[in-house]
Amino acid sequence: MTSTGRLARLMKSEGVWLFSRSPAAILAAVLTFVIVLGALLAPWIAPTNPYDLASFSLIDGLLPPLWEDGGDARFLLGTDDQGRDMLSSILYGARLSLSIAAMAMAVALLLGVGLGLAAGYFGGRFDAVVMRIADVQLALPAILTALLIDGISRGILPREAHDDLRIAVITLAIALSLWVNFARTARASVFVERNKDYVQTAIMMGQHPARIMLRHILPNIVGPLMVIATVDLASAILLEATLSFLGVGLPADSPSLGTLIRIGMQYLLSGEWWILWIPTVFLVVLVVAINLLGDFLRDLFNPSLR
């Protein structure tokens, strides 16, 4: 089939039809798109570079947003105590938060789907071990797992190495606390499909197990996996923000959204509301938008709920 044919078929599909009739989903998609685009293009569209110490000065400290009295035209959303432009900090922070969350989600997806498919396909002792680990993991809330992994890594790695590997550690901690849902979905689908004729035929034809799992079984669960991936992306963003807020995530010199909120907490009692509330609102809007998209996808792939 040609690519235009595919596109035409996609445009006529049920999903697009439902999407065009759901104002919440459209709004959520637009918001997510704008935020992701802003985060991706941060180095080019942000007015200043918040990591560059020469680009801001203390003289501009604690300026309110443009629409308040005393606002400065150079700083649309005001500045923090160091004179850093809030808009730039938020764009760069979102960039960091989103890339950590996306990487963690991707690792969790690969790990979970791989283990789940293999566990379902090979069964036996391997399956038992993987699923017991998954059970334990599921009983432990994600934030606890992530905190533990961070704590252990602090103990194992020397201090300098830990600071350098901060982003990798956080990503891994989040990924390891989110893989279970993927694994369970993948494993369940293997159990459903394994005894069907087409899979049995493929086995008899002597196809490689990896090929059977990836080409024949995996396509059945693309929908549910997309739903989990979307919801988990939101969870990953929240986890990272929470870890950074607790002060065990990213350090203050490379602030993510959570770190910005932690810094802003110091201004809770003073008049400089924008330092705390603008990053907070930004984070909440981002997560609500992604969760709305997840809800829409869930309804789409589960017609009985419609």
């Binding site: 432990l140 809330p141 905190l147 704590g151 103990g155 929470t242 807020f245 984070l283 909440v284 997560v287």
Partner: protein, 324 residues
């Protein structure tokens, strides 16, 4: 029945042994206790002697057995950072966390279950739709932001409630409680709400999904066909079937409450076990971390065991399956 309980008990013991093993490995392989305990001026021979005296040269499994035996006797060792016995540190922090968690759990159940039933019975109503959108936002707002919002609203703007610490406490034996003074309750309101709101949204969504599922089953349809009054169908037939999973919800939520109490305690500077754990991570206080892990795992295992037992007691179908 007895066989089932025994099987679950044995499983629980194995889980605890696995967790103890993990905690011990943490203790054994992360950081060196001798270098933590001695200064620069301690000679190498003295260090070696101390190592021998403390039994750190014994085989791995001998040390593990000793570790487990000491844990069972309630001897949890000493913190690297404060040099205090960890058992006492945890015990003094335990009441704060338990009181906070219990009140939060009660809030989540007392509001969440009726709200879930209501939204399941009137899924298309305006009120239900608003509640549902509300919970979606509730799930998306991180716990710490809820905490900040409440502090800002009731602590800073209105000035009604204190925003940190436990307020006035009463000592009953070793249990320091904030439930017996007005001041203590006032301090408890905001943290408990923060912790409870997130759990509330979960409870509501679970109860709603379960109730909607039950309303679609055959025995409900049959009851409708028989002409049983709606009241009776909804609150007798459907609700009793919905309530069985609620026990699991409470069990699961306990885990959530413990985990998120770390965040809540941090926002409100609530002197509980979560704050202790967070400090132990920040200062790489490995003994405290591993003991916290064991204690939390113990809570989880006990709760899960109770949930399983209650299940058998409440759901007749499980008993039938067991005897077949």
């Amino acid at each position: 029945m007895v066989g089932f309980i025994l099987k679950r008990l044995v499983q629980s013991v194995f889980v605890m042994l696995a967790v103890a093993f993990l905690a011990f490995s943490l203790f054994k392989f992360v950081g060196d206790p001798i270098s933590q305990m001695t200064g620069v001026e301690t000679s190498l021979e003295d260090q070696a002697r101390l190592r021998e005296e403390l039994g750190l040269n014994d085989p791995f499994f001998v040390q593990f057995a000793r570790f487990t035996a000491e844990m069972l006797r309630g001897d949890f060792g000493y913190s690297f950072r404060t040099r205090e016995p960890i058992g006492q540190m945890l015990l003094s922090r335990l009441p704060a966390t338990l009181e906070l968690g219990t009140v939060a759990l009660l809030i989540s159940l007392i509001v969440g279950i009726p709200a879930g039933v209501f939204t399941a019975l009137r899924p298309r109503g305006l009120v239900s739709q608003s509640i549902l959108i509300g919970t979606l936002i509730g799930v998306s707002i991180p716990t710490f932001v809820i905490g900040i919002l409440l502090i800002f609203l009731f602590g800073v703007q209105l000035g009604w409630l204190p925003t940190f610490g436990r307020g006035g406490t009463v000592q009953i034996g070793w249990w320091r409680s904030s439930l017996f003074t007005t001041d203590g309750w006032r301090s408890l309101v905001l943290p408990a709400l923060t912790l409870g709101l997130f759990q509330l949204t979960l409870t509501m969504r679970l109860v709603r999904a379960q109730m909607m599922e039950v309303m679609r089953t055959d025995h409900i349809r049959f009851a409708i066909a028989r002409g049983v009054p709606w009241r009776s169908i909804r609150y007798r037939h459907a609700l009793s079937n919905t309530m069985i999973p609620v026990i699991t919800i409470i069990g699961l939520q306990f885990g959530g409450v413990i985990a998120f109490s770390i965040v809540t305690e941090s926002v409100f500077q609530w002197p509980g076990m979560g704050l202790l754990f967070l400090e132990s991570i920040r200062f790489v206080d490995i003994p405290v971390m591993s003991v916290y892990l064991v204690v939390i795992a113990f809570f989880f295992v006990v709760i899960n065991l109770l949930v399983d037992l209650l299940y058998v007691a409440i759901d007749p179908r499980l008993r039938v399956r067991e005897s077949v």
